[in-house]
Symmetry: C2
Subunit: 160 residues, 2 copies
DNA sequence: CACTATGTTCATTTTATATTGAACATATCT
DNA sequence: AGATATGTTCAATATAAAATGAACATAGTG
């Protein structure tokens, strides 16, 4: 499955990140790409990656685009080479910030709206709605928690 | 898609949790189940859930089993009724703890092993391996971060 | 015990997601 | 310009995940 021209170190790394990717529901090809870049000092171009990982051009391209979007890989210009080359970003602060920004925060954006809508639906009810109010408050409280926890995680990540 | 006998409040809640579930890569049926229980005061039995959400017995059963396993729904005995009834757990501390315990921590358990294995692979190399060492250290540092962040999240969740 | 209600499983089907690779676009060089 | 190298897209295919529902298991009831 994984090409042979790799050191044990690289193979282990690829496997480790394939696993880590699964843990956060990210495709294995993306885990493999990051795992290889993480364990390889020399910047790699797209063809290097497709041939050593045995994945298709399209897959590698989309994977790199995704990794770049969250800031997990950086584009690097190699002297004399026209091809684009990539290296892994290893700052935990940047990795965490990018991941949270792209994968978590978008889901929270309409949070306020949704809670407001729930509150509205609740006051439309004909019956008394102690219960509904308590649930809306609960939700609002959870929302505040997440809004405070995310920046905290980003900050703490900076220390590692 | 969602049965009509629901109040607006319940419909909104189901939709909200279907969305939230997607955000953490959990099947929609599970989001719907929790959303309905969250917005319904009366304990619900399996048949209530399948009929109002229009999902299959099997799906509802597996979904409830999953929700119970992370501690997001509680089994309740209703006077005179033989059927099992369920209500939503709403303590953020318990929800967070259950989710992290079942979905995140298992992936970390072999973390030590993996890092150790990487270190081993690294010292097997014939070339000097400054680079590999720095990467192994990086990984170990990330690992420490996660190990400290998880308990912190659980603790903070208790305040909400 | 036979009968009914309730709970659970799992082989199949359906649906969603990831991957492929050829076609297309764009840039660089002679 | 034509020729070549590199980058990007996307319809088709393969793979994986979720949902279904009938079959089975178990527990209660008369």
């Amino acid at each position: 499955m994984i090409e042979q021209g790799l050191t044990d170190f690289q193979k282990e790394s690829v496997e480790l990140f394939i696993n880590a990717a699964a843990a956060i529901s990210v495709p294995r090809s993306i885990g493999a790409l990051y795992g290889l870049l993480f364990s390889t000092e020399e910047p790699q171009c797209l063809d290097d990656l497709t041939s050593t990982l045995q994945i298709s051009r399209g897959s590698a391209h989309e994977g790199l685009r995704w990794l770049r979007s969250i800031g997990a890989v950086k584009l690097i210009y190699v002297a004399g080479q026209r091809k684009e080359h990539f290296v892994a970003e290893t700052s935990l602060r940047r990795l965490a910030a990018g991941y949270l920004r792209d994968r978590i925060e978008p889901h929270l954006e309409n949070g306020q709206d949704r809670i407001h809508q729930l509150k509205k639906a609740c006051s439309d009810e004909t019956t008394v709605c102690e219960f509904q109010y308590s649930r809306v408050n609960q939700l609002a409280s959870w929302y505040r928690f997440v809004q405070r926890a995310l920046p905290l995680v980003k900050t703490l990540a900076g220390r590692f």
